[in-house]
Each structure stands twice: as C-alpha cells, then as structure tokens.
Symmetry: C2
Subunit: 86 residues, 2 copies
C-alpha cells in the first residue's frame, strides 16, 4: 500500500472518529442531560487530541491533523455541555 | 523536532486519549447507568479506531498502533456496558 492509499485509509478513519462525536453532541443537546458522561474522560481526551494535533503537524500526516482539529472542537463541546447541564 | 521527539509526543497523546476512556468505563461500572451515553458515538468511534489501527500499521507509526489498540478495547467496553445497562 502506498502513501496515497494510507492517507485515504487515515482520512476514512479520521472521518469516523470525528463524526462519532456528533450523535453524542446531539443526544445531550436534545435531552439537556449529561449525568452519565464522565467530565474526566472528555477533559483528558481533549488534551490528548490537542497533542495528537501537534504530533500530526510534526510527522506531517494531514489526516491526523485534519481529524484531530475537528475532534477537538466536538470533544470540547461535550465538555461544555457537561458543565452547562450539571 | 526529530522522529524520536515526534514519537514521544505521539506516545503522550496516545496515552491521554486512551487513558481518557478509563474514567468513563469506571463511571458506568459504578453507577450501572449509561442513559446519556450515545451508542451511535461508541459504535462509529470503535470502527474508526479500528481503521486508525490499520492506518498506523501502514505508515509504521507505532504510537498510533499502540494507542488505538488499547482505545479500541476501552471503547468496545463502553459499548457493551451501554447495551448491558439499557
């Protein structure tokens, strides 16, 4: 598999792990309820995603950069919802 | 920054995004309650993480491989909990 194929796979992976957060954001948005969500999870996760973003920049892997930039936004949204609907 | 430094950053990032799932697993385990968790999120996320694992193997980025293998296990655990405690 060449680099182009690997990038396609990475883009698909990144699309899924990013899009995955959308149903969770929508669920909390609709129910205005986030009791079962762990704030610890989304705080640590957001910090980790920020570091993945830096890592992607370092190794110049654009699927890693692109996916993590979007995931960071969604993960922080869930964290804000958790605080808002406590 | 050289490859070794990038790998250190990736390892730290992977540790955080993997460890992040532990408080969520513990929270559901203790409360036996996962109503606010989106099964759609964890189903799509698990599939995406599986593809990140394949991507990591393709580009031979061991922090990507290592982190995603563990994250997959934790993400699937949350999905099983969600089904179990519905």
């Amino acid at each position: 598999m060449n680099l182009e194929s690997a990038n396609t796979l990475g883009l698909l992976a990144g699309t899924l792990t990013t899009v995955a957060f959308v149903p969770q954001v929508v669920k909390i948005w609709k129910s205005k309820h986030a009791r079962d969500i762990s704030s610890g999870m989304f705080a640590i996760f957001s910090l980790g995603v920020l570091l993945w973003l830096f890592y992607g920049i370092q190794i110049e892997a654009w699927p890693v950069i692109f996916a993590n930039a979007l995931t960071l936004g969604l993960s922080l949204t869930i964290l804000v919802f958790k605080i808002k609907y406590r």
